[in-house]
């Protein structure tokens, strides 16, 4: 991915983190426009399955009842992975993020941020960093007897640490 785009992504994640820490929510215009642009970017790179799956999952979110949402999401995701096996991991990440939001385990802002990252950078390593930082954040929150954590901090910190790792990897 172009380094300028990566810097823009980090700056955007940082702005989202500031919004989240202050208001416990991120305004729609701050997340929706980048989500749309990330989808366009993925399409322009020829990765047509992830953005189409993202659009489908957003649409499926309005289905009733809940069982219908799960069934449609499962079928669409399976077909997406089968028709474009190279994107199977990205498909799994997108579905997992959507599922976490669907069961109420993840906020909508966090889900959109993770989807943007998955669309721009369809590699699992960055999500490994984010999950590790999130786990550490969870442990610290439990030690401080807090029940909730702003996960966007983990998303930004994970992406930042991944950037540092990538730079060191290129230097060495």
């Amino acid at each position: 991915m172009d380094w300028l785009l990566w810097v823009l992504l980090l700056v955007w994640l940082f702005v989202c983190m500031l919004y989240d820490l202050r208001f416990r929510r991120v305004p729609g215009r701050v997340t929706l426009i980048p989500l749309f642009l990330a989808g366009m970017y993925a399409l322009s790179r020829g990765w047509w399955v992830p953005p189409l799956l993202t659009a489908a999952l957003i649409h499926i979110s309005d289905f009733e009842p809940r069982e219908k949402r799960y069934a449609f999401a499962g079928v669409v995701s399976a077909f997406a992975a089968i028709f474009e096996p190279a994107t199977a991991l990205t498909v799994a990440i997108l579905v997992l993020v959507w599922l976490l939001w669907e069961i109420g385990a993840m906020g909508g802002a966090d889900a959109k941020l993770l989807m943007v990252i998955a669309l721009l950078y369809p590699q699992p390593w960055i999500f490994l960093w984010i999950a590790l930082v999130g786990g550490l954040q969870g442990l610290i929150a439990i030690a401080m007897r807090k029940k909730e954590v702003p996960y966007i901090v983990a998303i930004f910190a994970g992406a930042f640490l991944f950037s540092i790792q990538s730079v060191f990897y290129r230097i060495s």
Binding site: V26, D110, G138, A154
Partner: protein
């Protein structure tokens, strides 16, 4: 749309920990079985 209208940015601490564990286990499984999983998916895609 429900997903697009949700702007919350908060999770429970347990969820953050569960995500970390699930991702680590998935990563371990991927390292062990990744090539086999890819072969199965390719096979299904080929049959379709």
């Amino acid at each position: 749309m429900r997903f697009l209208r949700d702007h919350k940015g908060i999770e429970s601490t347990e969820v953050a920990l569960i995500i970390a564990v699930v991702v680590l286990v998935s990563y371990g499984a991927y390292r062990l079985l990744g090539s086999n999983i890819a072969a199965v998916v390719q096979d299904i895609a080929g049959r379709i």
